[in-house]
Symmetry: C2
Subunit: 476 residues, 2 copies
């Protein structure tokens, strides 16, 4: 009996928990809080959304939700990692957006030493921009003979990644010669189509498949990100087990036990009924700072949409903002407390920060430091989180607190999965499609025009005409 | 004549310019744009604000605006840098908020290699958080004999910085011994008062003065940040010269020539008349990514205020958001284009990115890559900026474009100064005090309570009572 209890406790202790007290009107008062009645009224729609997602999944429409269960793919990825690891100092991802952020989030959280490659341990670099100075410095600083470049573009037409690829390919060819250079390229793209696949076939580069029907921002639990994670010795099996554990919880139509459903409802009600148009993700942990960036993409691209409703256009979507505690207490909290009541702050609170370091009792007679003596640094960090949570609530600002037992693969897997399902359920409440991104097409076409891509001459003319319309007097 | 013209051109070419076309109604249409009438109506208040600031400055009330002219302080800083540089691999700043962000912004922009310390070149690390795992890893990775820790706290009571200081002090004492350890500490705090000054006096540590009457977020052009900049071989004289050049322009009551005044007016009108409550700073340059973070603090803490007006409370302040181009086109632009019309995007556009690298013409027959052949990477980046600017404007979303000839000390000095004056003038329009931060006091007191500081027992009880009020059913 006692041991079963302990086992249950142990299991519970490894789960993450979502504390929604701070969104409720009776807790924070004022106009920003959600009422019990509002929460009850939304429940039928929530139950429908959970059921709808389950149906779509049964029909095979949401393969990214089944990624945690793909054992064969996982074993393939682990085997590839073992093979690549030999003679490898640096694994450089040429990728942008969702293809870059997942791996970056995993590495920051679970392999914080992963920024240093060298004999015996692989370093990961995610080159997710085309700033020429930074990109050239990156290439200059690497021993190319001990580096693999992983070119990742689902469609094979991502301008930034393709430009990086062409530059890297030429450099490898020049420095390592025509026989060896190809060994340092690994291409990840669609299996059947696209220009990058064509190049792989023509040149005989090594390649892996970007999983079919999985969009970039929902790809974090796929081989695209698990491969670099495995190279950094992250326990990817535990990461996937965490996702599975969260999957079990997020399937529940008993909403009081479904953290994704309740989290989606909280955001939706805060936004649509209480003017909370900004969602801040504020980990009190450096290790989770990049996770917050991953989430910012997921939330912005999935929910930031334009809807036609009853003949008029409605613009949807909370603006996600990343903050990091305690640092941003000295940068953003003044605004969050005293500024407009237009944001909900979601804290990520870590119970056990791992390293234990105590503040020494060096100056017992100096009041501004004496109280710190004997305090573990992690406790100080967590005290600041609690203090900030309460300070915001006292000012009528809603908060959410997601509690992690520790920054482990199992916890991070839960967190990724929780946020993916939350986003999809929120999309269902808003009535938007979380999987498309029509708003970026115009910018792409205009870039093609300016870059001189054939077929986009009209866009080039359009930009030139627009630049002519600018009034010099308004350029100061 | 010709040479005078060239000289003038050369001078002009080194100035940064603010393009406000994208905020005007006749350019972007819709409801978000500012009308010419609105801009005209605000002019008298703007002229007053510029005059008021000049008056305050004459009275000696705004010393941070005169920092660019402090020759003696500059020479002292340069001499100290020369002295410290000997036998120094790593300069570690223990600082948070404005005391950290200025140096970080300068280092990212002007010393992008500054993350690597070693014989012959100093590396800078800014430790601006108390995550135990990261802080311990930092200390473990340093050769303490070749490291100086710069402890920076204006008041001497910043909990995070003081905790770091005590941990570092003990570690130095333990590893280097009582004779040598103090040489590795340099304290920056107020000249006359505070606990840290008392400790300096008692222990005989080296110290510099945090300049009097200069707040953390307005300190970037002071020795606090110029010392680490000088250690990284940044041309700080040129940085200050840039600030001086901008100062000349921002003093003008001819508003058509005053970029700070017009920029402040644009933000204020967009926010108060057009619902633009979010201000995105989006450099198309990795080098300026940390500058955007510095600006986020400046904008949030200075303007995010609570006002009592006619007996009711008004909450003021745009929420600043950092994005980086082109990367965040694949993360945030979907939301910015199709989501709510509640943001203005300020681009930082760099004419010359320094390193020149051309995309090779490797696959002339493959349409998705052929057009990239021959294109310099910096031109692709700038084409994406223009395309995004136009795409946003076509959707009725206001934009501002700040153009830098290059990321140089002279340009960055202008940019810092421009943003400081813009912020102060905007504060005057909003009617708020840009220099205080009353909203963070409550959180500080609650942290003191939780950390057991004597005198804050009531706060501790308050937190405990509040935690009791949380409903377990809302923790999922």
């Amino acid at each position: 009996m006692a041991s079963a209890y302990r086992r249950k406790r142990k299991h519970d202790d490894s789960l993450i928990h979502v504390d929604l007290n701070g969104v409720m009107q009776d807790m924070i008062g004022g106009e920003a809080g959600v009422s019990v009645a509002e929460l009850e009224a939304i429940q039928p729609r929530l139950v429908d959304a959970v059921g709808h997602l389950a149906d779509e999944r049964k029909q095979g429409l949401r393969p990214f939700l089944d990624l945690p269960y793909e054992k064969a793919a996982l074993e393939e990825t682990l085997a590839l990692a073992d093979e690549l690891r030999r003679d490898l100092d640096w694994f450089v991802m040429l990728a942008i957006g969702g293809s870059a952020l997942g791996a970056r989030a995993i590495a920051t959280a679970l392999a914080p030493g992963g920024g240093h490659g060298g004999p015996g341990h692989v370093g990961l670099i995610v080159a997710d921009n085309i700033d020429p100075q930074r990109f050239v410095a990156l290439l200059d600083g690497l021993d190319l003979r001990r580096t693999i470049f992983n070119v990742i573009s689902k469609s094979g037409e991502t301008a930034e990644t393709m430009a990086q690829f062409l530059i890297v390919r030429e450099r490898l060819l020049r420095e390592l010669g025509a026989v060896d250079y190809a060994k340092h390229l690994l291409v990840t793209t669609e299996a059947e189509s696209g220009s990058l696949r064509q190049i792989v076939n023509d040149e005989g580069f090594s390649s892996t498949n970007f999983p079919a029907s999985v969009g970039g921002r929902f790809s974090v639990l796929s081989s695209v990100h698990l491969l670099p994670a495995a190279l950094l010795d992250v326990d990817v099996t535990a990461l996937l087990a965490g996702a599975q554990a969260m999957d079990e919880r997020c399937k529940s139509s008993d909403l009081g036990r479904n953290p994704a459903a309740m989290l989606a409802a909280a955001h939706y009600l805060l936004d649509t009924l209480h003017g909370i148009s900004i969602a801040v993700m504020m980990p009190y942990s450096d290790l989770l700072s990049t996770f917050a960036e991953w989430w910012c993409e997921l939330w912005a691209e999935s929910l930031g949409k334009r809807l036609e409703r009853d003949g008029s256009v409605v613009a949807i979507g909370q603006t996600p903002v990343r903050a990091v505690g305690a640092t941003d207490q000295h940068s953003q909290i003044q605004l969050y407390v005293d500024g407009p009541a237009d944001k909900v702050v979601s804290f990520l609170r870590v119970a056990d920060h791992g390293a234990r370091v105590e503040v020494p009792r060096s100056y017992p007679d100096i009041g501004d430091v004496a109280y710190l003596g004997g305090l573990p640094l992690g406790e100080l960090l967590n005290a600041e989180q609690r203090a900030t949570e309460l300070a915001l609530q006292k000012h009528g600002r809603p908060t959410i607190t997601i509690e992690l037992p520790a920054v482990t693969p199992f916890a991070l897997g839960q967190l990724f999965y929780l946020m993916e399902v939350t986003t999809i359920l929120a999309a269902e409440l808003y009535g938007v499609d979380p999987y498309n991104q029509p708003g970026i097409e115009e910018g792409k076409r205009l870039t093609f025009g300016l870059a001189g891509k054939p077929g986009f001459e009209e866009q080039k003319s359009e930009v030139e005409a627009w630049l002519q319309r600018k009034k010099p007097a308004l350029v100061l």
